[in-house]
């Protein structure tokens, strides 16, 4: 087995505030192999976007990495100086964000933005870069690319803009893409187009991807493995099929169960009562204990680490005895 492309070890992100330090990410560890798509799911505030931002070095101050390491190809990138980080972003790690309008600079044509990125990171002169930019626009499915290259972002529709953003993220041929809710702002029919585009491009170029989304359907279709996050921690990791169909952690199981199925009508949807704790009020022990139907004594005092559970890894004391569920 070769070394993973990205490895995150015990990552801890803190926000110092007047009322004390908030821990936004607490002991987050995972890895992404070459060519692998890792889905990261969870509800708003679970820390999934924060994880992506930490990897590309774009944490909003006063947020800071307070512990742990991020390694890309075995090299630490969490403590790089700003100038080094600039070379890394775009060249080694590409980013796709939720809102394509704020990602693109409205004052430059899409061509200028693509060319700038490629000239910065690749050994190309502007004329070669322009030819390459047209190729990229064609590749992401923009009709009449040789004319549209001189258009400004506002002249594109939402779906087309997101295609431009994908081209921009991929054009310097990074090894890793961090895609943060890339389809959330799009309509379903456009979402389907963008997802299949992302999937096929990542496969053709052998790019690894960290796909952050709250939409389990998107993950089920795209990802190889899934990490489920809750209150700043990873509560379960596993192959996508295992997590979706037989989640081990009670939270992941509840999350999967509360997704309304399009294939049939249920009398009642399964619901998780209550809501995720605020960062300032995470309970001791397992953060899910107030909402968990299976919680027992140990859950309230001792924090669970990821441990084998069914075919996955789950941070849950139910599986303390060699992956056998306690309540089964």
């Amino acid at each position: 087995m070769t070394a993973p492309l990205l490895e995150v070890r015990n990552l801890r992100v803190e926000f110092p505030t007047r009322r004390g330090t908030l821990v936004a990410l607490d002991d987050v560890s995972f890895s992404i192999a070459h060519g692998e798509v890792l889905g990261v799911v969870g509800e708003s505030g679970a820390g999934k976007s924060m994880t992506g931002a930490a990897i590309i070095g774009l944490l909003e101050p006063p947020g800071r990495i307070a512990g742990g390491q991020i390694l890309l190809n075995g090299r630490r990138i969490d403590n790089l100086p700003y100038s080094e980080l600039r070379k890394l972003r775009g060249r080694e790690i590409g980013a796709i964000f939720q809102d394509p309008l704020t990602t693109l600079n409205p004052l430059y044509t899409v061509g200028q933005q693509l060319i700038e990125t490629m000239v910065t990171h690749l050994p190309l002169n502007p004329a070669q870069a322009r030819a390459k930019a047209i190729e990229w626009l064609e590749l992401v499915g923009i009709p009449a690319a040789s004319q549209r290259i001189d258009s400004y972002p506002h002249e594109f529709s939402g779906g087309m803009r997101q295609r431009v953003v994908i081209a921009l993220a991929l054009c310097a041929e990074p090894k890793l893409i961090v895609a943060d809710e890339p389809t959330t702002a799009l309509d379903v029919s456009i979402q389907a187009q963008v997802i299949s585009l992302l999937k096929s491009l990542a496969r053709d170029k052998g790019t690894s991807m960290m796909l952050v989304t709250h939409d389990m359907g998107v993950i089920a279709e795209t990802a190889d493995r899934v990490a489920v996050m809750y209150a700043g921690r990873i509560v379960e990791v596993g192959a996508v099929r295992n997590v979706v169909q037989q989640a081990a952690h009670p939270y992941s199981a509840g999350l999967m169960g509360s997704i309304p199925p399009v294939g049939r009508r249920l009398e009642r949807l399964q619901q998780i009562d209550g809501s995720m704790p605020r960062l300032s009020a995470i309970p001791p022990g397992c953060p899910y204990n107030p909402r968990c139907p299976h919680a027992f004594d140990r859950c309230f005092v001792e924090r669970p680490e990821l441990m084998p559970a069914k075919d996955n890894l789950a941070a849950c004391w139910l599986y303390a005895e060699q992956g056998v569920p306690r309540h089964a």
Partner: protein, 341 residues
């Protein structure tokens, strides 16, 4: 007029004038530009049932919600509320009390400077349902309990609540005037999925308990399937298909409905290859001729380009009304995947 119909729209339309200012228009020698947000749609909602409207952004579904409660007046056509023209009904506070609306964003729809109990009591005071402060307090407490909050929560301000709890407060406010008809415009799309399930279950419970009639607006077909009795699919300001929910989901007829179903990523089809529908929704300022879906439709032919299809019962599933020439002519290849010929 059947008296079991709560709300009926008859060929209702709402156009917006989006022309540039007169002088610029004269200089550029261009005409007026009219955005046909809703362009002639008809449906009826039976009392105690839920009709959902689905469609992508810009299809006019929120405009319909606003037309139906009288926030917009129709450009032509009419809206009938319990057998009475909506304009007349709106003039009568007793009729107005019977309809309420729940909005998408629970962060924007609650006044941040009011305590929750005042937010919920406002309709009670405005409609003069009761004047005694003790009765108002009791009613507010009862409403909060009904939506799964504590009567003590009335003392707090909206910012002290999470998104799901705020949406519960919006529902309590909507229920405070004892309405019979609720218009819900994307009530769960700002919420996380586990909270969404809580709100949908609550809405179902309230409907069963209070006999409410819902017009439910959503872009999410899976959510719509869980709550609806009937479903209308909108595209570019028109209804393209209207059917009982189970019929629509089991045998979608309009090519657009079929494409939408095809586009939903479903958990149960991990790894399955999908065929996304190409193209994008055209601008409602300059809609395509004939059938508005023809530029994206794999079944389109010359007739679809030239002639606008009307809503007629579909072959095979007569309970479905569908506006499609291909379905009418029987060339819609039901049961086969939709791929361009």
């Amino acid at each position: 007029m059947r008296n079991d119909i709560m709300l009926e729209t008859i060929n209702v339309a709402r156009h917006f004038d989006v022309s540039r200012p007169l002088v610029q228009r004269l200089l550029a020698r261009e005409g007026k530009r009219v955005l046909r947000a809703v362009d002639g749609i008809s449906f009826a909602i039976e009392k105690g049932t839920t009709l959902s409207l689905v469609g992508e952004s810009g299809c006019g579904k929120s405009t319909v919600a606003r037309l139906v409660v009288g926030l917009y007046g129709p450009t032509h056509g009419s809206v009938m509320f319990d057998g009475q023209d909506l304009a007349q009904a709106r003039a009568d506070s007793e009729q107005r009390r019977r309809m309420q609306m729940i909005f998408q964003d629970p962060y924007a729809s609650l006044n941040p400077r009011w305590r929750v109990r005042d937010i919920i009591a406002e309709p009670i005071r405005a409609f003069g349902l009761t004047r005694s402060p003790a009765e108002i307090d009791a009613r507010v407490g009862e409403l909060l309990t009904q939506v799964g909050l504590s009567p003590l929560d009335g003392q707090k301000f909206p910012h002290e609540f999470s998104g799901g709890q705020r949406q519960r407060i919006s529902i309590a406010r909507a229920l405070s005037s004892n309405p019979e008809f609720l218009v819900c415009d994307e009530p769960t799309s700002a919420l996380d999925v586990s909270v969404q399930a809580q709100i949908l279950n609550l809405m179902k419970d309230l409907q069963a308990r209070l006999g409410l009639t819902y017009l439910f607006i959503s872009h999410n077909l899976a959510v719509v399937r869980q709550v609806s009795d009937r479903v209308g699919v909108m595209y570019l300001g028109r209804l393209v298909e209207l059917a009982p929910a189970e019929t629509l989901f089991n045998t979608p007829r309009h090519p657009y409905t079929r494409a939408l179903m095809e586009a939903i990523p479903d958990l149960e089809m991990t790894g399955r290859q999908r065929i996304p529908v190409g193209g994008e929704v055209p601008s409602p300022i300059d809609p395509p001729s004939g059938c508005p879906f023809h530029p994206r439709c794999p079944l389109a032919n010359d007739r679809c380009v030239a002639e606008r299809p009307e809503m007629i019962p579909a072959r095979g599933t007569p309970e479905t009304l569908v506006a499609c020439h291909a379905v009418e002519e029987g060339r819609d290849r039901v049961g086969e995947p939709l791929v361009a010929a």
